[in-house]
Structure formats: C-alpha cells, structure tokens
Symmetry: C2
Subunit: 123 residues, 2 copies
C-alpha cells in the first residue's frame, strides 16, 4: 500500500475539508461496520454516524490540525491507525477548542473509516 | 473476548501505574512488532520503545486519565483500539501537561501493544 503517512495526510485533509464544508459529505467515508465514539457516545454504521455529525449544534466550524501521526495497523489487512490533535472553532466563538481524534482506516476498494474516536480536550 | 471497555480499563490502569512506578516495567507489554510514535519520533520493537521511555528526561511522573474510549478493532483478530486523554505532571513542575495517547492492543495469549501514539497537547 502507499505509505501510511501519505494515505493519512490525504485522508485527514479530505476529512476536515468535507467536515467544515458540509458534514453530509462525510457519508461515503463510513460503512455499516464503522464505529464512532463522540464525546463518549457510541454510534454504529454510516447512517447513525452521519446523522450525529449533521446534528451537531453549530453552523460553521473550522478545524486546524496541529499534529497527525499514522502507523500501519495489523498485518493481513491494509489498514492504518491515525491520531490527530488540533483546534476547532465554531460559529462566533472567539476561543478555539482543543480536540483529539483517532481513526482506523481500512482499504476495501478505497479507504473507509472503521474506528473513529473524538474527544474535546479541556485543560 | 471480554468487553472492549473492560479490557481497555484494566490495560490503561496497569499501563500508567507501571509507567509512573518504573518505566522498565512496561517491557512485557511490547513485542518486536510493536510500534510507537512519541512526539513524532518513531520506534519499533519492545527494546527500542522501552529504551526511549526509560530515557525520558524526568524522574517522577504522575498520569491522570481524563477520558478513555475503546472500540473493538478489525474482525478476525482479537484487538482493541483505545484513545486516552489526560494530564501528566513531572518532577517539580506545578502545571500539569495535557496529553493524548492511542493504543491498539492485540490478544496473543494476553494483550500486547501493537500501535502506540503519544502526543502532548499545547494550547
């Protein structure tokens, strides 16, 4: 497979661009087997995940990635684990919030999100 | 397998207790195939990983876990992905630092760390 860092960088760029432009555009990145933990709440399957993302209570959001680390996942599958830390700014809030998001991507005729864990970081 | 949350909680408790007591005690948790990204530096295999951890430039450290999320990893293996956010306090520093650490654990006669990504979070 392409280098884990290269795949991860392309994915992360695409993911946050789509998130910030129109969260419905994330649907093709998830499948029925996908899992998401969002601030401790668990969601399973593309429908439930995207419904949650679309329902988040803000209109405008801008993500800024601070760090991104990727590693190949288990042998026998083409999969990558990624952990992102960054800042996000919503609507008219002045102060950005720190966040952490981890993904496992799996290649099955294109990469999709198998695991997704999102947390805001409060100091 | 046991529930992902239960395994994750036991692992995280053990990991940070061992880390804070004597970092050499982490060696049995890693194997030759293990990968660690530590503040962007990459390490492979239990020896290199534990050597790095032992060489970190502080004597005393206390981790406090703020959030922990776990999900089952890919089907066909017994594996779990975990993302922790927390605070750590080193030596005589008054102010704790925020950190994020993600693990993938794999069960092979007991769980070991396959992937490990660590980052400090700067506001």
């Amino acid at each position: 497979m392409a280098d884990a860092d290269t795949v991860a960088k392309q994915f992360v760029d695409f993911y946050y661009s789509a998130f910030d432009a129109d969260r419905k555009g994330l649907a093709p990145l998830y499948r029925d087997v996908s899992m998401m933990s969002w601030e401790g709440q668990q969601f399973k399957g593309a429908n439930d995940i995207v419904e949650k993302l679309v329902s988040l209570p803000f209109t405008r959001v801008v993500h800024k990635v601070t760090t991104m680390d990727a590693q190949p996942s288990l042998p026998g599958v083409t999969a990558i684990v990624i952990t992102v830390t960054g800042q996000l700014q919503i609507d008219d809030e002045q102060k950005p919030m720190q966040y952490t998001q981890s993904f496992q991507l799996v290649d099955d005729n294109g990469f999709f999100v198998y695991n997704d864990i999102f947390r805001l970081n409060y100091a």
